[in-house]
Symmetry: C2
Subunit: 339 residues, 2 copies
Amino acid sequence: MATRNIKEVAQLARVSVGTVSNVLNRPEIVSPATRERVFEAIKKLGFVRNEVARHLRMGRSRTVGLVVLDVSNPFFVDVAQGAESVADDHDSMVVLCNSAGDAGRERRHLDQLEQQRVMGILITPVEMESPWLEELAARGTPVVLVDSPATGLQCSVAVDDRLGGQIAGAHLIERGHRRIMFVGGPQSIKQVADRHTGIASAVAAADGAVELLTSTAPTLTVAEGRAIGERVAALPADERPTAAFCANDMMALGFLQAMASHGLRVPDDLAIIGYDDIDFAAAAAVPLSSIRQPRELLGRTAIDLLLEEVAEPEQHRHRQVIFQPDLVIRESSAPRRTH
Amino acid sequence: MATRNIKEVAQLARVSVGTVSNVLNRPEIVSPATRERVFEAIKKLGFVRNEVARHLRMGRSRTVGLVVLDVSNPFFVDVAQGAESVADDHDSMVVLCNSAGDAGRERRHLDQLEQQRVMGILITPVEMESPWLEELAARGTPVVLVDSPATGLQCSVAVDDRLGGQIAGAHLIERGHRRIMFVGGPQSIKQVADRHTGIASAVAAADGAVELLTSTAPTLTVAEGRAIGERVAALPADERPTAAFCANDMMALGFLQAMASHGLRVPDDLAIIGYDDIDFAAAAAVPLSSIRQPRELLGRTAIDLLLEEVAEPEQHRHRQVIFQPDLVIRESSAPRRTH
DNA sequence: TCACGTCGTTGAGACGATTCAAAAGAATCT
DNA sequence: AGATTCTTTTGAATCGTCTCAACGACGTGA
């Protein structure tokens, strides 16, 4: 409660509050002697600037909200770190919020961030269509979609998920697989839908020779991946797919665990390829093949776009940046023996 | 920029600003008719409460800062989730900051949080002794140490790391290992120092029969674990330890990868045990034995203590909560054959 | 009719910093 | 010395909300 304010500092230094403020913000216009006196007073009182009052007066905040689908997915942590590294250079702060794939939680976080009058919001939305976001933007909080393409009404940074799915599919087909399962999540998540479309197009290109199964989980977690894996492992061998393309690496890890616990060999009995190429993918029981996304670059670019918009709101034109994914081949999808 | 304020709402609803504020905060004391009129005005204008002004006026914030050593370590993400779940119930918000083991970054985050006048700070400090934290607390921002025992000047939540180290050591010794390496980090990090002390005491209890090597990295990351692993793998077999106790699971995963890439078999050539029991430990190439900490409970309890202190600053007495770690045995430290 | 409570509403200060026009002081030039 | 310019410092207004004493309207009971 011993929080000092500018007034107390002014009193102790025998200057006006205006001068203290000047020392804090434009020290060069204050005479050295006065400046020194003020600094001493600050030190003696243990004065710490009140950013809240500052923000209220100045009308703009130095923090950016980042709302992600799942904090426990290292993919998003990496995106966040990318964003934070840029924010650091502009002495802003990133506050990380977890929607956990739940529209309600997402909504609450957005409300909170808007009430805090954050500088802007970076978000991987739970649902494709969200009027909230547009209203939010209309009311004056810039929004940048992350890992999700925008319709033109706002900026966005994304990776071509359709292409990623296609690459994964082509890879598995090229490896000789003819019965492939897409281990996915809610189609309402754009990324999932696109990855599905991608692999479907690769399958279609194989001219009916390849069969595509699909399983869907409510969330893209390790646990769900494991659950689906259990079900797949329980199938008779001739009904079982020979390869699985998981919507992300978390699911792939769970799926892999289920294979192991049922004595199925990866990639011999069943090949697996994940998505995101999180660091743990390489350290898995069987190192996971994956579709790599430029995780940190995604975060970096998103906040760059945001800062650009904030800096020049007038002449800013919304942009949609799209990156290309890469195929990373590891043991989990190693060459399949044609039997 | 279309941000409306209470005054505009008041004008449109033809009431005073005081009444609008009442509608927002104590709707029951406002007559239904007026209340309705105000709500309509709010909706029509798209008014969103300015939490910044609110906070300035009320003098206290609804956000809590959580400063962790490494956001990319899922251990801390779990702690954060525990904290957040409690914060949610008290409609507060947790902002996650990453010191990345760097005292400078930690310092900057603390400054920022103090300037924002957060309700309190939960922190896993980089260094044991930190005058900053005490000054911070003295100036009125409550601090709770997380995963790190306090000296009595503040609240803390921790797990008995000494015991954890001892359990890990006893386990390896019991499995027949006589040459054990502690793969650690800076001794300035209390957790690391304690885990080391723990295993050392287990080794001492073995009466000279066991040899304890120690290697130290600047940070507790996968990369550092791998680097140390590379060096260990390069040693001639008779100088190489037969078991490694890693200061956390991240290092253990890196260490494990190094073993694999050098063709050393785990646990036959070298057993590994980690610390934290993060979810990825079980999914590793060789499922990792680990010392489990109650991760979410740690975060939950920390914020409970903080809220307690904030609620009743007067009669609050600082408490130090200590939990017990558990041994989780998996394949990476399976029985060693006596040769 | 008057005094008195009750209920709803009002409006004037805070809260702590920034900003900026204007005043005060110092330095320079005639 | 007096006029002019430049440098410092001042203090009042402002940002958006909350709080609380005071006020008006209304009904009740005497």
